[in-house]
Symmetry: C2
Subunit: 346 residues, 2 copies
Amino acid sequence: MSRSIRLAVIPGDGIGQEVVAQGLKVLTSVLPQDVKLETQEYDLGAKRWHETGDTLPDAELESLKQHDALLLGAIGDPSVPSGVLERGLLLKLRFAFDHYVNLRPSKLFPNTSTPLAGRPDIDFVVVREGTEGPYTGNGGSLRTGTPAEVATEVSVNTAYGVERVVRDAYERANARPRKKLTLVHKNNVLVYAGHMWKNIFDKVGQEYPEVTTDYLHVDAATIFFVTQPERFDVIVTDNLFGDILTDLAAAVTGGIGLAASGNINPSGEFPSMFEPVHGSAPDIAGTGKADPTATILSVSLLLRHLGYETEAVRIEEAVAADLEARDGSARTTDEIGDALAARVAG
Amino acid sequence: MSRSIRLAVIPGDGIGQEVVAQGLKVLTSVLPQDVKLETQEYDLGAKRWHETGDTLPDAELESLKQHDALLLGAIGDPSVPSGVLERGLLLKLRFAFDHYVNLRPSKLFPNTSTPLAGRPDIDFVVVREGTEGPYTGNGGSLRTGTPAEVATEVSVNTAYGVERVVRDAYERANARPRKKLTLVHKNNVLVYAGHMWKNIFDKVGQEYPEVTTDYLHVDAATIFFVTQPERFDVIVTDNLFGDILTDLAAAVTGGIGLAASGNINPSGEFPSMFEPVHGSAPDIAGTGKADPTATILSVSLLLRHLGYETEAVRIEEAVAADLEARDGSARTTDEIGDALAARVAG
Ligand SMILES: CC(C)[C@H](C(=O)O)[C@@H](O)C(=O)O
Ligand SMILES: CC(C)[C@H](C(=O)O)[C@@H](O)C(=O)O
């Protein structure tokens, strides 16, 4: 049997290049010899935009589609107006490839720092909806720049879109030992979207009698993230609430340097995309200070998605062991990548 | 000179009644003898809704308007569908009385518990916009309850509404020793509203050359709330982000039992309303376990708003001293109220 992975690589901006290099290093190291890895790099991001005005041309979108998965570093640079690359590249990919499950695990590894006293036991997964909500780009501005300006943002939510992500979250909860699923929304204020989410959540839940369910308003959820994070197992929530909660989750579980994510198209119609939760951190780009662990854990999610479960676990275990073995001395991006590549090597 | 305060009191649901009673106790105790306090209680909330179907009838809204200020306990009960009382009563008041400054101070008092390790020095104020954004009730649902349902929520933002709250925040920042103002939004995704906020923030900032400014995306802001809360002085943000951030702020500064708020109409055209950030907590209602401190600190905000600065400070100092003196033994709602009433008594 001969296997292959066709991987599209988008290093992007800032530290993206550096962390992606380490992700590929570990990927190469962990893959069995019979798996052929074909990577194709795409030059997208701030530099490209400055040179050509392009964020993501159709031809490249078509070409990206031909891959089994995408690995993305980070997108965004202060020299580009806010929103141009986010909407024109990152969100365009998530929407075009119907990445409706934005998967963000949070785990407090041993020997990592958390701002929380008492080191609670944190191990949950946020299933963030990825293709709807306030992220659709619906809205507009009238009389822009004048004292009479009106600007709107429309959160668009469909039963179609909510049901599929809620179902995915139930499946994930059902497969975990604690079998607990929490819906986070704000249905006492956002009554139209919130009630639809809640009704669908309750309806789909009837098919998963073993899953314990729970509902929290997003404001209350942030309280529990810092006072009782151990209460969470799987969380399902909308695109914007998921964005906010997963940064907070990263902050309480060892920091944004460890937070991995997968933008998943579960049907497999389009390639899924894996990326660290952190941004391009232009202030430390090129200094060797970026922690590539989030990207390397994203590679683990990528492998799991493509069916390489053993290899996915091997990376997770290597990261846990690596963090455990840390002695507090600073390591460069490259050194961390090397250490993990060595640990996962067969 | 004879002075008077006409105060409308809305105890509301759950622990609302109990905490408001303590708030009034402390208010009575702190006020100089020459100030005549006239209170009028309004029976609004879950019980009223069950009995009559009313949330806030026009006649009562008119009557409430005749007061100098409103003191509210808490609104909401699980027996009422989510949103009915929130939209029909609490938000109706905030919108009808044009409470565009939703003021929420966060301070970590000595000898209070925080989930954060290392006890950072926290003392900031969130100025949350209170009359626009995703809270306007714009939106709707089509084909409700069917697999073809579409539900929208429209965030409405006006230059008029943003400029006045941003200006208020600059004034507050300018009056504080650190003179620092942070705008929190998500202008890399919510580009219409986000850019308007940012442009107005920058424009108004030119009138306050001594105020240092800063911008953070809401997701990143949650990280700093737990890793570096001491970086904040005054924060200005939209209605929904403010809702989320102030619960998180309460969680890291001694808990929701201490978080006070003022819904302020700075022009004085309508009465302002003061309320604890916490909800009605039906699970502990009637047990004497509710901490009335958040309500009592809201009374302090009320006094400051009405020009009783000395008395406002006296309450804050009493709370600080009371927390400092705690020996860890549990106290009832009443005992805390008594202790604070005694401390503020002239
Ligand atoms: C960069 C930005 C558009 C993005 C988001 O808001 O989704 C990021 O914050 C994330 O969480 O992946
Ligand atoms: C009860 C709810 C409508 C309210 C809000 O969202 O504003 C509350 O959470 C608050 O923060 O005062």
